[in-house]
């Protein structure tokens, strides 16, 4: 991919006997928001930790801005702001103390004022000890610390975990704003509605392998669409037989109403419908959640 920020090729990772990543291939372009989808244990966190050289792959390669994290881990980490999925913070710090400490670990840092603005937007009290904060507030601290560095790549592992709906919304808005300013965002999630909301592209990982990668809209469009059509007069079900991408799901008793399932393009169906007196057409596009579930349904039927 041209201008690839993240390039992952044939990545394998074993934990003892467990084959966590099985030849993962992935590419993320400059300036895009990439949603990395998968259920627990699919390999999302393992992939991210390999990107940061926290763990090392057994096979395959990763480059971040053309740099191999294993060869130059410091150079790579200097380019990334990271929110871990299994966030655990030292309880004796206040958020302010933690941020101050972590600012000492980086060279190119954002001004404190910028961080205070983010803290205010997500309603985070900087002066209460972390051990006294709720899980949601700890998540806010984790989110805030990922903005300490002046970095071109933000990596979030389940960024909205444990947040209330309002903060969740604000966090997604902030992520989108960062992307609009030219930053690349790579984030994993299993909350599909939020991926759908902000991701330009989506990758779906299953059992350590990427099973789908596409633009979010394209992925939704290319999937099954349900169409409910009402006619002013009965229509023969045989009328749809010649359409290979259309399946008839339901027909009412007097052949006045049909529920059809369309795969991909709607063109053939619309041309066929034009031959009949149509009263109403209702199209139901699947959400990303339905698309995602389809992949996992396929998995269970395979198994």
């Amino acid at each position: 991919m041209k201008d690839a920020v993240i390039e992952i090729t044939d990545l394998h990772k074993y934990y003892g006997q467990v084959h966590a990543l099985r030849g993962l291939n992935l590419s993320v372009a400059l300036g895009e928001v990439f949603g990395f989808l998968g259920p627990n244990g699919a390999g999302k966190t393992t992939t991210i930790r390999c990107m940061l050289d926290l763990i090392r792959p057994n096979q395959g390669s990763i480059t971040i801005f053309g740099i191999d994290p294993q060869d130059s881990p410091l150079a790579v980490k200097a380019l990334i702001g990271y929110l871990p999925g299994d966030l655990n913070l030292e309880g004796e710090f206040t958020p302010r103390g933690l941020i101050n400490y972590m600012r000492q670990l980086r060279k190119d840092i954002r001004p404190w004022e910028d961080l205070k603005v983010i803290a205010k937007r997500i309603d985070l009290d900087l002066n209460t000890k972390i051990k006294n904060l709720s899980q949601g507030n700890k998540q806010k601290v984790g989110f805030l610390q990922s903005f300490i560095g002046n970095v071109p790549l933000l990596v979030f592992d389940e960024p909205t975990l444990g947040l209330d709906p309002l903060t969740k919304q604000e966090v997604l808005t902030i992520i989108r704003e960062e992307a609009d300013q030219g930053k690349t965002v790579f984030f994993s999630s299993h909350i599909l509605s939020e991926v759908q909301k902000i991701a330009d592209r989506v990758g779906i990982i299953r059992k350590g392998k990427l099973v789908e990668i596409a633009h979010t809209v394209e992925l939704i469009n290319r999937s099954l669409t349900q169409a409910t059509i009402q006619f002013t007069q009965p229509v023969d079900p045989e009328s749809f037989v010649h359409l290979t991408n259309v399946a008839v799901l339901r027909v009412n008793q007097n052949n006045h109403a049909y529920t059809l399932e369309v795969t991909g393009e709607m063109d053939g169906l619309i041309k066929t419908l034009a031959k009949y007196p149509v009263r109403d057409v209702a199209i139901h596009r699947p959400s990303l959640e339905e698309v995602f579930l389809k992949y996992y349904k396929d998995e269970s039927t395979e198994g």
Partner: protein, 279 residues
């Protein structure tokens, strides 16, 4: 590295003051009491005669109890490696393994700092913490030595057994740290290092009663710990052996830490199935 070192040291201030202050007060009063005992040495000799020779030999040279060196050796330096040793082993085995296992190291490790900086920053802070604990204890004893008339010890003479103690504590600290890098978790490393400390203590103590144990005792770090004897003269060779072991264990621990995966939530790491049942 300095930020990690500073943060770890600041986090340890309570441990330093608690242990250092407590032992410093103990040391002060021990020497203060010694002044009174010295006045009654005839009574004390009669009292000591009541104990079996083996009992007294286990804890050191009881014949010299009426000297300051002998008294401090028996009343302080004979058992303090066990007490401080357990504290040091516990701290070292959790130094990196605990934040690694509970995940709190992850956001630190994701910053542009090397693994070596994380390792040595924390290790040097722990070494300095141990040094400060001993320094405060030494200060307490020195104050007492200065004001008790019957004690004729210079600050340097009193410093020597602390140097020997420092060296042996570093051995068990570095051993526990090395094991925490090798074994699946910090808890098992602490347990094994603690058992080795106690075994070493018994082997070295029992060797005074049974010379047949001398061959095994060569491998006991506490053999090279001089205790109260160091007040009279410090065995540099023993000191170098202890520092050499420390450097060796720290180096091996460092190599393991920079080469292996972080063990967040139990992922990765070397597992010794001979010792541990893993899931």
């Amino acid at each position: 590295m300095f930020a990690i070192f500073k943060q770890k040291l600041l986090k340890s201030w309570l441990m330093i003051l608690g242990w250092g202050g407590g032992l410093g007060v103990l040391g002060y009063f021990l020497l203060d009491i010694y002044g009174s005992i010295f006045q009654q040495n005839v009574d004390l000799q009669e009292y000591m005669a009541l104990f079996p020779e083996e009992f007294l030999a286990f804890f050191g040279d009881a014949d010299s109890l009426l000297t300051t060196e002998g008294f401090l050796g028996l009343e302080f330096f004979s058992y303090i490696p066990i007490i401080l040793g357990i504290m040091v082993v516990s701290n070292a085995s959790n130094l990196i393994a605990k934040p690694e296992e509970d995940g709190s190291l992850e956001i630190i490790a994701a910053q542009p700092i090397s693994r070596s900086a994380v390792y040595w920053g924390k290790v040097l802070a722990l070494i300095l913490s141990v040094f400060l604990i001993l320094f405060i204890t030494w200060t307490g004893m020195s104050l007492a030595a200065n004001h008790v008339e019957t004690i004729d010890l210079s600050f340097l003479e009193l410093f020597r057994p602390f140097l020997s103690l420092f060296a042996v504590l570093l051995v068990f600290m570095s051993l526990a740290l090395f094991l925490s890098m090798l074994l699946p978790n910090g808890g098992s490393a602490g347990l094994i290092a603690g058992l080795l400390l106690i075994a070493s203590y018994f082997v070295t103590s029992l060797t005074r009663l049974d010379e047949d144990l001398a061959a095994i005792n060569r491998f006991s770090p506490l053999k090279y710990y001089q205790g109260g004897d160091a007040i009279a003269s410090l065995n540099i060779e023993y000191l170098l052996i202890l520092f050499g072991l420390t450097i060796g264990f720290l180096g091996l621990g460092w190599l393991l830490f920079v080469k292996r995966d972080f063990r967040f939530g139990g992922s990765g790491g070397v597992r010794l199935k001979l010792f541990m049942k893993t899931n």
